[in-house]
Symmetry: C2
Subunit: 439 residues, 2 copies
């Protein structure tokens, strides 16, 4: 990759000044080492499944979580509004889509980012109280992370669809599938997710847009306890057919595991390590370990990718979903070298895949040797995005992502590669510099 010289932070003087102050500042370096070490040490374990209302704090009322940084109902993109309408119908808070829309617009349903509740969700990222969530315990800190369950492809809530088929599937997931998985996990005990992800990286997944191996490995791991469990034969048969039929089933667990690893790196004053990258379909937001829950946002980019027949960029919603948590954790686009076959899905060549991973080495704090890349001679994946280096080099974090139609309910129309907007990082380093007393 050729990098032409350009002023740091793209000529933003305040950010350039902040950067100059922070380069080689030993307080920042030490803070970053602490954040990165905590990220490396984190051990996410899949521990259970439960309705969000029981597992996630603050979800016992009329509350709906969504992807990305905070956003008001009226500003939301089509797929996110469609998903929220579907969640309201699923919860029985309204009887038809129009009533659901009015309820959402009335403000009588709480709307908050998943990330404010320790959770993540792909695309619209909608989680309502009765939906089952995966419960991941990070065993070093004991902290919990959550994600919703993957519905499969086609007409699904996360792309804004909310018809009878979608709601019916969500009901089945909240009853049969949840019961089978609950019995299975009770029988299995916890399942460590990092070894499973590591194995999947050796099997062509980057665990963001390609989860074929991880899903197969997970199913293989779940099956013996599932069959030993008290779940009925009919329910097991339905659950297995559902999981086996969806290559993306592992995605939501990958995301929750990444959330757990990155939450471990949080709340280290002075740390410029990125702990969140997330999109709500209108804005792209990031958080740093040194600046707590503060969001730094910029307009969400439109994704350059491969479109399904009949669709083009004109049909695409801007970048959407919490799934960029995988790139934030050194996976997804950062681990593309592990997944050459993914270029059939997101575009480019296998050489591009290796080049993307190599480039990310310039903006990260180190390598995660728990996640090795065979095609790069088993080097660890580049991880721990340093917001300083992004602003300094203008080398933007690469993200593999699905593309949603801008209208609710049409669903996925492609997949491709996008980049986090520079402006998030220049804002973040400026704010971080302000938080560190002059040296």
């Amino acid at each position: 990759m050729r990098i032409d010289w350009a002023p740091p932070a793209d000529g933003n003087h305040a950010a350039g000044h902040a950067l100059a102050l922070m380069v080689n500042d030993e307080r920042i370096e030490a803070a970053n080492r602490a954040s990165f070490a905590a990220y490396l040490a984190a051990q996410p374990v899949l521990e259970g499944i439960a309705p969000a209302r029981e597992a996630v704090s603050g979800m016992d009322g009329r509350m709906i979580l969504h992807a990305g940084p905070p956003i008001a109902w009226a500003s939301m993109c089509g797929p996110m509004q469609g998903a929220i309408i579907g969640a309201i119908l699923f919860e029985g808070w309204a009887d038809d889509p129009e009533a659901a829309r009015r309820l959402a617009a009335s403000g009588d349903v709480g709307l908050a980012p998943c990330h404010h509740h320790g959770a993540v969700g792909p695309m619209a990222g909608v989680i309502s109280p009765s939906m089952p969530v995966w419960i991941i315990r990070e065993t070093v800190s004991g902290r919990l992370s959550f994600s919703n369950l993957n519905e499969g492809l086609g007409k699904v809530l996360r792309f804004g669809a909310n018809g009878a088929e979608v709601i019916g599937r969500l009901r089945w997931m909240a009853s049969t599938l949840r019961h089978v998985l609950d019995a299975t996990l009770g029988e299995a005990g916890g399942i460590e997710l990092k070894p499973l992800i590591a194995q999947a990286l050796h099997m062509g997944d980057e665990v963001h847009n390609r989860n074929a191996a991880a899903t197969s490995l997970l199913l293989r791991r779940l099956l013996p306890p599932m069959l030993r469990s008290a779940a009925s034969r009919d329910d097991v048969t339905e659950a297995v057919a559902f999981i086996a039929g969806n290559d993306h089933f592992f995605l939501n667990l990958s995301m929750a595991a990444c959330k757990a690893m990155l939450d471990a790196a949080r709340d280290v004053p002075g740390s410029s390590m990125v702990t969140v990258m997330a999109r709500n379909g209108v804005e792209f937001g990031i958080q740093l370990a040194g600046t707590g829950n503060r969001w730094f946002t910029a307009p969400a980019p439109v994704v350059d990718g491969l479109f399904f027949p009949g669709y083009s960029t004109a049909d695409a919603a801007p970048d959407l979903g919490d799934s960029a948590i995988t790139e934030t954790a050194g996976l997804g686009g950062f681990a593309m070298a592990a997944a050459p076959a993914i270029v059939n899905f997101v575009g480019g060549t296998p050489d591009d895949a290796v080049a993307n991973t190599a480039a990310m080495g310039h903006i990260t704090l180190g390598r995660n040797t728990a996640f090795t890349l065979p095609a790069m001679n088993f080097v660890g994946t580049p991880a721990g995005i340093d917001a300083r280096r992004v602003a300094d080099t203008r080398l933007l974090p690469v993200i593999n992502t699905g593309i949603a139609h801008r209208k609710a309910g049409i669903g996925q129309i492609g997949a491709g590669i996008t980049h986090a907007p520079l402006d998030c990082f220049t804002q973040a380093v400026t704010a971080l510099a302000a938080s560190v007393p002059d040296g």
Copy 2:
């Protein structure tokens, strides 16, 4: 790879003369095109499972099949003798290992290569009448191929172990596992094996020494019909635990699928395409499409590889097993570029893996575009070994393989890379030349 000039066929004048006659002989070229086209067109489908006595012709008496070219009892290596003793005990033809040994030595049990009965088996490759075999139908020709079922690692018959644990497992496989798989395949209908192999190649397997993805994909494919089938919950639970616990479970299906593809290429007068490479632990043997069932043999090489702690080359049996059928079909070592992670198991670096695949392009008739290699920009795997080119270039077919202890029953002691001996190919081209009238 650097190839120094050397006389063709390593200075063997008869072979060199034969080669000179055959180079650019349009009859040979046309025969090879026919063989290769039939190999490419073959469609192996997993159709069923049955005791060898019912499925394999000539297996209704006291008959035991073994790996590699023909060999007498007294000449067999330790692991093969151990496995045959185990098979006799399993069949109940003798009550203890010494009686079984005497029976085997007496000649009252028929011994024949698997390949003479359309079958293949890894390592010792022992198949006796009551053992279940996979039944693969090649749908273009209707021809059947067979393999035994993979027992897992540790103390297993194929490495010559024959204690109570081994025989007990074989009995369970012949009853419970067979019944579950029979019910499953009845429910599933046939399962096409080429798409499954193609997918596994995109997931880091070369389907010889690495079958982690293929086993997971197979299990995922079998589960829904297994759960719908009449098999009992307890039996399904045991069968799934057994399959899920063995990364190599798919190997035997991979081998039988390769056998089916290569049998399709057989019996084309004048064809120099290799249809069999197989080892009995003493000799390495090959067959050509143009010379029918005739074997061309040479001493089996000792494998250069990575040994498990406490073992070395001195402990190793020479190269053993029918599993080189995968390389003969363009998989295994020929598809190593698909499986960079395998170098942890067989030695070398990921670059070596790509180099091995690239080198095999020089001795093969074409590319199999059903099996693409992401790391080489989705080129097809090199396939259809041309015995002429091997003899001409001295570039030997590369084989990934397990290494057995030379004594019966100790089991696998390592894995590595070996090469087919040149002498097999010089003999084969000499015989082929003799079979083709002067042009």
